[in-house]
């Protein structure tokens, strides 16, 4: 099986769907000839033509809004927003139009589309390019939010997203684009939306993470096992909305301890929702408070202090250690 980066896996998922379904269109800023600023759409215009894969003027709201019209007409648009932070310029179209047209039309119009956007920190992007946006969109009801953490998942989840009748925001962590390769089948396959993955089995404590924090959590788990001999379970949420509550609750009910890791700032984030779910459905299993490992409550940091501010494997390990104390 070929070993692919996440960039290649996503490119391949797009190619498969462009091939299979003439209603699929890929568009956005620089996705055509340039193949995207991260080369995610590299070669797709050459292969499928400029009417399937094309550049747009620079206007995020119109990019998303035009996808609404296309989806209403029956196409399956896959608009790209060059960096997820720039979805803020299309926030209204995403939150009030894309996510609600199915509802507002009494269920008569489907917004089958995938909004793709790179996000996340740790790669020294210019200012305002690295925001973690998933917790905002978790609040946007009617939208699904998916964040893959491996090349294999990225391809399978993206294909599921494109085939989903509901709109999906597909967030690709920039740090994962090329950080490692994985065996990825060349053919069509899906990974289900709404299902978390247990990426490391363990019995003493549960670490809930997603995106680039999954790798950091796995490292932390390793450290803790080495240091304390404790058995750490790591859950990769994969879908942020709707959350796989059962996976979280089952694991915490088993381990009785949990740490939730999120790259973005603390207040009102995904970790808070995970804790609320644990509180509601597994409180009596808890031996200790669930700790959050997050960035502090401030804007995305100046990049020179990125490494200090973003959660590191060490910080996750420290939180695990604290939570393991009797």
């Amino acid at each position: 099986m070929p070993k692919w980066t996440m960039v290649k896996a996503i490119n391949n998922a797009l190619a498969i769907k462009l091939e299979q379904d003439p209603d699929v269109l890929v568009f956005g800023e620089d996705v055509g000839k340039n193949g995207g600023v991260f080369r995610v759409t590299d070669g797709l215009q050459a292969q499928f033509g400029g009417d399937r894969v094309f550049d747009t003027p620079l206007a995020e709201s119109a990019i998303i809004g035009s996808a609404v019209g296309m989806a209403t007409y029956g196409l399956r648009p896959i608009p790209e927003i060059q960096f997820a932070g720039f979805t803020y310029l299309a926030f209204h179209q995403i939150a009030a139009q894309v996510a609600r047209l199915h509802f507002r039309s009494g269920g008569k119009i489907n917004m089958s589309m995938v909004i793709r956007a790179p996000f996340g920190g740790g790669v020294r992007t210019p200012e305002l390019h690295a925001d973690s946006v998933e917790a905002l969109y978790m609040q946007v009801q009617g939208l699904k939010v998916v964040i893959p953490s491996t090349p294999y998942d990225a391809k399978g989840l993206l294909i599921s997203a494109i085939e989903d009748p509901d709109p999906v925001l597909f967030l690709e962590h920039m740090k994962l684009y090329r950080s490692f390769r994985q065996e990825v089948p060349a053919e069509h396959y899906t990974v289900p939306i709404g299902k978390a993955a247990t990426v490391r089995e363990g019995s003493d404590i549960t670490v809930v993470a997603y995106g680039a924090m999954v790798q950091s959590s796995l490292k932390a788990a390793e450290m803790i096992e080495q240091k304390l001999g404790a058995s750490v379970e790591v859950i990769d949420l994969r879908t942020i909305a709707p959350l796989d509550e059962a996976a979280i609750v089952n694991s915490v009910s088993k381990t009785g301890r949990a740490v939730v890791v999120q790259e973005g700032p603390r207040s009102g984030g995904v970790a808070a929702e995970v804790i609320a779910v644990i509180n509601e459905q597994a409180l009596y299993s808890l031996y200790k408070p669930v700790l959050r490992v997050t960035s502090p409550d401030g804007p995305y940091p100046f990049t020179v202090m990125e490494d200090d501010i973003l959660p590191s494997p060490e910080r996750i390990a420290a939180a695990i250690e604290t939570t393991l104390e009797p």
Partner: protein, 354 residues
């Protein structure tokens, strides 16, 4: 290619009901049909305001004064075309096949059970200019599917100040999308007069700025709107690109039933515009042609009132049935487990309380 800035207002029928340029070539029945739609619009609007006063309807935006524009923009559309509008073009929606009850449902805050996308009309849009990129995207989809059809987008004068309006015109120009955008310039955006909305003399000047022709049309003149629409729709269907039409009309009523225009608008202005009433003007013209007389007019009005009465009855008879049960199926195509649990808990609670 550079288009020049429009400098005059196209008119076919003067406020006095006289022809000032060539009328469109249309069969007499259709001319009367236009009149009927205008009357239906006005009666509908007045009835909605009355229902709202009686607590039987939500907030409503009256359309009085804009009947000619709504008829003129919808009339030359073909079946495959799509209409993407905002909230004051009920007549255009009706002409496309949207039932009266569907519009009532939407203003009443009710699931639009009688709405159907098979009419090629998107639901009413209340967020200013948000429909514009939808319209462009749909036009791009038609282009991709190689259809010789077009999208008609409708928007108010005030909403043209929103980013979405301008991004969309620019998209339409850049992609040469088959889109005809109609700005219903009714002089006001709630309390903000047109002069304060933009410094340009005409909103239609935006056309050439985004690489498409711009037209200014007397919006109280159904023929002027119709003819300009025909030109632009042909252009769009022929793959020659988008156009922008500004129709100059007037909002004769309040902005919505929640608004009191006496706070900000001089009564003389309304009086001035009453002289230019689109229905009166067209009625005089049709009488000159012998297509209308007092009796025929009364017949049309009666017919229209009955149609409305049936719609009101249908709307009201179906309304009480909608409670929380219906809510949960509309969020996603497949209800996720937590939402299903929330549904069960809520319904259990409500059933206990009821």
């Amino acid at each position: 290619m550079t288009f020049s800035l429009p400098t005059h207002v196209t008119q076919v029928i003067s406020p006095e009901g006289k022809l000032v340029s060539d009328p469109p070539e249309l069969p007499p029945e259709q001319l009367v049909e236009f009149y009927r739609w205008m009357v239906l619009g006005r009666v509908f609007s007045n009835r909605m305001v009355a229902l709202q006063r009686q607590g039987r309807m939500g907030t409503f935006a009256p359309l009085n004064g804009q009947e000619a524009a709504s008829v003129g923009l919808a009339a030359p559309m073909m079946d495959d075309d799509w209409l993407v509008g905002s909230y004051r073009e009920a007549i255009s929606f009706f002409m496309r096949g949207i039932p009266i009850t569907a519009i009532m449902e939407q203003w009443a805050g009710y699931i639009p059970i009688s709405y159907s996308p098979a009419t090629n009309v998107m639901p009413i849009q209340v967020v200013l200019a948000s429909q514009m990129p939808h319209a462009v995207g749909m036009a791009m989809a038609m282009q991709y599917k190689k259809k010789a059809s077009a999208v008609v987008a409708v928007i108010g004068d005030g909403a043209t100040s929103e980013g979405d309006f301008n991004e969309s015109l620019n998209f339409a120009g850049a992609f040469k999308a088959p889109l005809v955008t109609v700005v219903q310039n009714n002089g006001w955006a709630i309390s903000v007069p047109r002069e304060k909305q933009t410094a340009a003399e005409y909103i239609a000047h935006r056309g050439p700025a985004f690489g498409m022709p711009g037209y200014v049309v007397d919006g109280n003149d159904v023929f002027a709107v119709f003819k300009t629409m025909e030109t632009c729709l042909e252009r769009a269907r022929a793959g020659e690109g988008p156009s922008l039409i500004e129709v100059i009309t007037y909002r004769m009523g309040a902005h919505t039933t929640a608004d009191d225009p006496t706070k900000y608008r001089p009564p003389e202005e309304l009086a001035e515009w009453e002289k230019k009433d689109p229905i009166t003007r067209y009625r005089i013209y049709l009488r000159t042609l012998g297509l209308l007389n007092e009796e025929k007019e009364a017949g049309i009005e009666e017919e229209v009132r009955q149609e409305l009465q049936i719609a009101v009855e249908r709307y009201e008879s179906e309304r009480p049935a909608q409670r929380a049960e219906k809510y949960f199926d509309l969020v996603y195509n497949d209800t996720p487990p937590q939402l299903a649990r929330q549904r069960d808990e809520l319904l259990q609670f409500l059933n206990r309380e009821r």
